[in-house]
Amino acid sequence: MQDKGNRDQRPVTKLVPGLSRRTMLTAAGAAATAPLLGRRARAAGEPIVLGWVGPLSPPGGYAEGILMKDAAAMAVEEINAQGGVLGRPIKVVYADTRGMPAEGRTAAERLVQEDKVVAVFGEFHSPVALAEIEVFHKYGVPFMACDVWSDKITAKGYPEVFRNSTAVSLIDTTIGEWMVAAGFKNVAMLTEKDDIGLDSRKAVAAVLDKSKVHYETADAEPTLTDFTAQILRFKSHQPTYDLFFSEFAEAGAYDMIRQSHDLGFAPTAKTAIYNSGGAAVDPTFWQNAGQAGVNLCTENVGLPKSGWNDKTKAFVKTFTARFKASPPGSAMESYDAAWLLAEAIKASGGTAAKGIIHALETTSWVGTRGKYSFSTDRDPAWHYHQFMDAPLTIIQYDKYKQSADNAPILWPRKFATVPYTIKKPV
């Protein structure tokens, strides 16, 4: 019972109101033909149990956690509709972590000990993932981390731990390079006080320092909703800042973007605006940001539309039909993670951890986010078991209610769909 009444804006629901007549017919057809396909296609026998971890209640970031869970459930339905793995169906046990390391740790223990999972995927908070990987490492259970950006997760060098999302060092070096290329000279930075915000600031600052770009920083608690004072302070600064960069993923990001716009700080002819952290590609972005979202830059951690493969297209179509919103990158990562683990089990021919780890190290499976491969190089340490080609583009909305996939791509230049690297409103 997720949502009553607000069905048109709210994408998350367990009632699946968006399940169209057509999908139902297809599903019914699949069920009817399944017996004809014989034993192989029918997922029979003892299920193979996978675990999922992530925040489903406060103080965790449950908004995104619930989307990731829904995407994982979609993957499992599809895997089972195709006959499961090794002739057995896949079952996922979902464990809520409330965004707290201690809860993550017990959740991990539970999945391993009680539910006897063969592998685990998911997460959203880096500190929680760091507590969980200790458990997975202790018992040797493979773990595919999704949407956790802290470098430390892979830098620990645990053979069980893989990451199919981007990492702070990957993402923020790219953002820093874009800032330099776009010619910004004077940047105001506002970051949220948490793992992503602070690491991100450090990584961006490193690039800016190297290129001698001037910047000023301010931090804010993730729960903050009124940024007026800080924005006015930035606004009154001389000389005028040419970019307002914020790393703010929580609900307050919408307020910040709107307040910056309403107070006439950014976007303006002089000052561009960038928000990092995913809030600007979430389903309720336009409802909350309104006109203030036009001209905003942000990163998209999915493949650029030009690079979409059949799986991306199919996933986006089903997800959009079901939840009435285009999927954020974290949902795609959770979906792909379920598939990656299923494919690794299939490739290794069993559920032994060593086999799964080896299969992941050598995988070249193509998912919604492109062709996967996991680095085995340990220099620098965070490269180990990291998906180095994790897709990342910097986009800038140029129309109200534009979807992230249709927004002009500014960077990297090989994916760019427009000739400019930044457009300021006139």
């Binding site: 949502d3 608690e221 909703t225 800080q230 302070r233 307020d255 309720t284």
Partner: protein
Amino acid sequence: MAEYLLIQSLNGLVIGVIYAVIAAGLTIIFSILKIVNFAHGEIYMMGGYFGYFVISMLGIPPIPAIFVAMALAFLLSVALERALLTPLYSPTTERKSDYGILVTFGISIFLRNIAIILFGPFPLRPPSFFSGALVVGDFVMTWDRVFAAGAGVALLGLLVLFLGRTSWGQALNAVSQSRESAAIVGINDRLAYTMAFGLGGAFAGAAGALVGPIYALTPSMGLQPDTQAFAIVVLGGMGSVGGSIIAGILIGVSESLFIALFPDPSRGLSYAQAFSLLVLMVVLLVRPTGLFGRTHTAME
């Protein structure tokens, strides 16, 4: 710099009015029922969502929706009072103040968490009352904020009139001074408790509906205003409606100036949230009667 401080003060003034509306509700409940309502912030949150759904589902325009949200917050508060607070009036209940604290704290946990399930985790934003912004030279303020402040002042004015000029208000005032004497002159004290809790909730709900377009609505939005309202009520002197209006504005303005003047900008915003809490602690320690209050350090 002087200009920046002036602009900041004006912004603080607007926020202060909203704080005052929330705190006035808390004060009414305190002065009549003699309990601190730890669920006040959650009623404020519910008011915001009531406003949102009244607009999006029933198609009521934003301004009348404030009144519907107030009425719904009133009804919700009355229902909670009837169901859970009646032991406060029974002579057999031991340590009533503990009961009041724990029950309202329980209500706050319950409402905050059921809201996630009912309204979903994503922030929601109702449409603006008036789009655009008021621009005077370097001073910019959205019309939504200007309107919220104006409406807040109007609501507070009505409240002061209601308490001072109507027989209902005088009856409430009598109960706040002495339950026994009020009963002797024939005032139905049970009805007064219900009215006071409902009225307090209605003001929290109104504040929630007013800030809807300014900040996005989230299930946990009540946590921060709750502690801020405590600070205001304590500063204003527990039980004094006029005191909490002045204290609300005072806290709003000084909080804005605190951010403006805090020497380390990378910490200013974080510590702004602690500012009103520190004021609260200092006032409790140094002058427990608040700036305008009566002696209320112990509750019977």
